[in-house]
Amino acid sequence: MGRCCRARLMPADQVMSSSRCPQCGNTSERVCMMPRTALDGIRVLDLGDFVSAPFCARLLGDLGAEVVKVESLDGDSARRYGPFRNDIPDAEASGLFLYLNSNKASVTLNWRSQAGRELLEALLDDTDIVVLDSDLSGKNHFTLDDLQRMHQSHPNLIVVAITPFGLVGRYSDYAAYDINVSSIAGATSNATFTDREPLMMPTLQVEMLAGLGAAFSTMAALLSRARHGQGQIIDFAQAQLIGTQAGGAPGHAPRAAAAQMRIAAPARGLYPNHVLPCSDGYVYLFAPQIQQWLGLVAAMGEPDWTKERRFRNRRAMSQEYPEESDAHVSEWLRAHTKLELLALFLQHRVPSAPLLNAKEVLESAHLLDRRFFDDRDHPVAGPLTYPGFQFRMSATPMRYRRRAPLLGEHNDTVFGEQLQLTDDRLARLRENGVI
C-alpha cells in the first residue's frame, strides 16, 4: 500500500469505490481513495500551544491533512483556559481547546529532553508540515539556526514558525503577549473614551487572525513545494501580519461618547457612521452611498424631518449638528428591536446592522439556514455546538472528521504503530517522563 493512501484513518464515506489513486495507483476499494479533501495525504505536526499555531494546524486539518498535536506532559495551555461547563475546570473539556483542536490526534512528548528530541526527529521524517511557536510570552523555543538545521536534514519539510515579532529583525527577542502585538502593530483602538485607556481587539482575535494568516502562508509554501519541489521555513511574525493590514479606517463608537472621543469630528465624513442605541441594544448605523441613506429614510417611514433641507446635507449632519440628527434617528431606533431593524435594513438595502450577542448569532435564521454551526459530541465535554468552517469549497469541502483529542490519546498509535517502538521502549519513555 502506497504511503499516499490514508484510508485507514478516514471515515468510510470518503472512500471512493470506483477510483484509482492518482498517486499510488491502488484500486482497492477498502484502502484507496481519490483526494476528496484538498490536503489528503499531507501530514502535519502541531508543536504549537494556546491559539495561533493550533488554529493554523486545525485549518490544515479541516482541509484534510492528518494532524498530530504534540503536547507537553501537562497539556496545551488552552486546556486550562476554558470556558468550562458550570465553570468547573477540566483539561479535557475546555471550550477553547475543543474548538481549536478538532481534526487532530494528540501525543504527549517532552521534546526538550534528549530522548524526546530523538522521537521528534523520528516524527519529522514522516511529516510534511511542522507548525511551531514561541512560548506564551514570546520567548522562542527555536533559533533560526535550529530551524535551518531542521530544514537541511528534511529538505521537503515546511517549517512554520509563528512568533510575535519574527525570528529576525528588531523586537525579535522581545517578550510579548497578544496585547503587546496588538498595540505595536495597529490592532489596538485609540477611538475610545478620552478618560480611558486604548482598547485591544476582544476575545483573542489577534491570535486568531495570526493563525489564519499563518495557514494562508503555509498553503503558499505547500503549493510552492508541489511546483518547485522544496520545503521552506516560514518566519511568520504576528506583528507583521497585523501591521500590514493597518490601513483600514476605524469605526466610530456611540455618539454619546463622541465629545470624549479621540477621533476628531471632521474625520467622520458622511452621516451616519457610528453606534446608536435601539430598544434592546445597539446598532451600527452606516449608509455611505446616497441611495443607502435614502433606503434608511424609507425604512424610517420618511418622517417629516428628513424632508428639511438641513437633514439632506449629510456632511453637515455629521459635522455641524450631529446631536440633533441623532435625536431624530434615535427616536425611531428606540421604538424598534434589533431583529426588527435587521429586517428593515435588509428590505431597504441599508448596510447598517444591529450589534448581535452570542445567543443571537447562534440563533440567527441566516446562519441556521446555511447550516454554519455544527453539533459535535465529545466523551468528556458532551454534545456542543461549534462554529463551522472558514470557507466553502465545492470540490474539496472542509470536513469534520475527528473530535478534539484527549491528552496523549494517540501515544500508542503514533509511537507504537507509526514509529514502531516496542512496548518495553514505550514503558521506559513513560517512566522517564518523556511521553
Binding site: I184, G186, G213, F216, A220, I242, P254, L355
Partner: protein, 410 residues
C-alpha cells in the same frame, strides 16, 4: 521563484476585501489583472481626494488615480479598463478568463450570474477555472442580499459588540476594518488551496468565503461560553483571565505602553523595575487570583507609576527584566519604526503621479527571496490595456482604437 509565479488571476474586486485578497496573491508572485472601468469605478477610486483635510487641486479626470486609500490594496497589479455593460467588453473578459487560473470577486450574490460569469458558465470557457467569491453574507440564506461593509459583518458576527469597557461603556466599532482583513486572508487562502488541489488532480472548483462566516469562524470562544453556560460574554476592556496586570498604561510623554504579566517571576520583575518592592508584600497582590480580584487598585498603582516614566526607557527596562512591554504605535509612528522596514511591514514604491510612498507590505516573505528594495505601485486605470488586449488577447492596434471609440475599452 515565488509560490504563485506563473499563475494569472482575474480580479473583479472592489474596496478593501475585494482589492486586498487578490493583492495577497500578487505578493506571492501571481499576475493579477484588475478589471475596472470608468462606468463603475472601484469605490476606493471614487470621490474627491484630500491631502490631510484639504481637497486636492487636480483635474477631475485625475481624481481616480489620486485616492490614497486605493494604493495599498492594489499595488503590484495590472489594470485593464473594460466596459462590461457592453457585450463586446464582456466577451473580452471571458477571453481573458480562458487564459487565467483564478477569478476573484466580492460582488453581491447573483451579479456574476447576471453577467454570465458564474462558475457554471465559466467552466465552458476554462474547464479547470477556480472562482472565489467573497460576498458579505454568503450566496444563500435569508440575509443573502443584505448590503455588507466591514461594520456590518463585524456587528452580525457578534465581534463588534464585545468592543468596549463594560456593558454600559460600549465602543462597538472594530479597528482596521477587521472583517475585510479576515475575509481577504480567508479568500486568499482558499484560492491557494484550490490551486494546490488543481496541481494534484487537474480539477478546478468554486469557492465561497463569506465575510460573515469567515469572521464567525474566529469567534468560537464567546459562542462556546454561551453554548456551555447560557452566558453572554460582555465587553470587558483589556481584561485577561490569566494575566494581571494586563492593560495599556499612559507614559509621561503622552504615549501608551501595553504591559502584560502572567507568571510570578514576571510580577516580581515588574515590581523590581518599578522600584515598588512593597507591592510584592501587598496582601491584595500576593498571587494571580488576588491581583485579578483587586484589578482596579492594581491598574491605578501601575498607571500612577508609568505616568512618571518616559515610554522608551520604560519599555527598555521592562523588556530587559523579561516583562512583556511594548509601545502603542500609531500609523505615523510605524513609518519611522525600524521593525516596519526590516520586516517589510511597510514597503517603498514610487507612483508616477504621487511620487514616493510607503505602502502596506507582505504577510510573509519566503526567506530565500532577496529582500525587496521596492514594490510596484498600484496601476493607473487601464494602464495595461495594451498588454492585456494586445499581447495576451492578440487584438490588433487598429481594432483596439475602435474599441476605445466605442467605449468598450473605457
Amino acid at each position: 521563484m515565488l509560490p504563485l509565479t506563473g499563475y494569472r488571476v482575474v480580479d473583479f474586486g472592489t474596496a478593501l476585501v475585494g482589492g486586498l485578497s487578490p493583492r495577497l496573491l500578487a505578493d506571492l508572485g501571481a499576475e493579477v489583472i484588475k478589471i475596472e472601468s470608468r462606468v463603475s469605478l472601484d469605490g476606493f477610486r471614487r470621490g474627491r481626494p484630500t491631502i490631510g483635510s484639504e481637497p486636492i487641486r487636480a483635474d477631475e479626470s485625475m481624481w481616480p488615480e489620486l485616492q490614497g486609500i486605493f494604493h495599498g490594496a492594489n499595488r503590484g497589479k495590472r489594470s485593464v479598463a473594460l466596459n462590461m455593460n457592453k457585450a463586446e467588453g464582456l466577451e473580452l473578459v471571458r477571453r481573458l478568463i480562458a487564459l487565467s487560473d483564478v477569478v476573484m470577486n466580492n460582488y453581491s450574490p447573483g451579479v456574476l450570474r447576471r453577467r454570465g460569469l458564474d462558475y457554471e458558465s465559466l467552466i465552458a470557457v476554462k474547464a479547470d477555472i477556480i472562482v472565489v467569491s467573497m460576498p458579505g453574507m454568503g450566496d444563500t440564506g435569508p440575509l443573502r442580499d443584505y448590503l455588507s461593509y466591514a461594520p456590518t459583518a463585524g456587528a452580525l458576527s457578534g465581534m463588534a459588540g464585545l468592543m468596549g469597557y463594560d456593558r454600559d461603556r460600549l465602543i462597538g466599532a472594530l479597528p482596521l476594518a477587521w472583517g475585510d482583513v479576515v475575509n481577504a486572508l480567508s479568500g486568499g487562502m482558499a484560492a491557494i488551496t484550490a490551486l494546490y488541489h488543481r496541481e494534484r488532480t487537474g480539477e478546478g472548483q468554486y469557492i465561497e468565503s463569506s465575510q460573515l462566516e469567515a469572521s464567525a469562524a474566529l469567534m468560537g470562544l464567546p459562542y462556546l461560553d454561551y453554548v456551555m453556560n447560557r452566558r453572554m460574554v460582555e465587553p470587558h476592556g483589556n481584561f485577561h483571565p490569566l494575566m494581571a496586570p494586563h492593560n495599556i498604561y499612559p507614559a509621561r510623554d503622552g504615549r501608551w505602553i501595553a504591559i502584560a504579566v502572567r507568571t510570578p517571576d514576571e510580577w516580581a520583575s515588574l515590581c523590581h523595575v518599578a522600584d515598588h518592592e512593597e507591592w510584592l508584600d501587598d496582601q491584595r497582590f500576593l498571587d494571580h487570583r488576588g491581583r485579578l480580584a483587586n484589578l482596579e487598585a492594581l491598574d491605578r498603582l501601575v498607571a500612577a507609576w508609568t505616568r512618571e516614566q518616559g515610554s522608551e526607557a520604560l519599555v527598555g527596562r521592562l523588556q530587559a527584566a523579561g516583562v512583556a512591554a511594548t509601545p502603542l504605535l500609531n500609523s505615523v509612528d510605524r513609518t519611522v519604526d525600524d521593525y516596519s522596514i526590516q520586516r517589510e511591514t511597510l514597503v517603498p514604491t514610487t507612483h508616477p503621479l504621487l511620487g514616493d510612498m510607503l505602502l502596506p507590505g507582505f504577510v510573509f516573505r519566503p526567506m530565500d527571496e532577496d529582500p525587496v528594495a521596492a514594490v510596484d505601485p498600484a496601476p493607473l486605470l487601464g494602464e495595461d490595456n495594451d498588454y492585456v488586449l494586445g499581447e495576451l488577447l492578440g487584438i490588433p492596434e487598429a481594432e483596439r482604437r475602435r474599441m476605445v471609440n466605442d467605449e468598450v475599452i473605457y
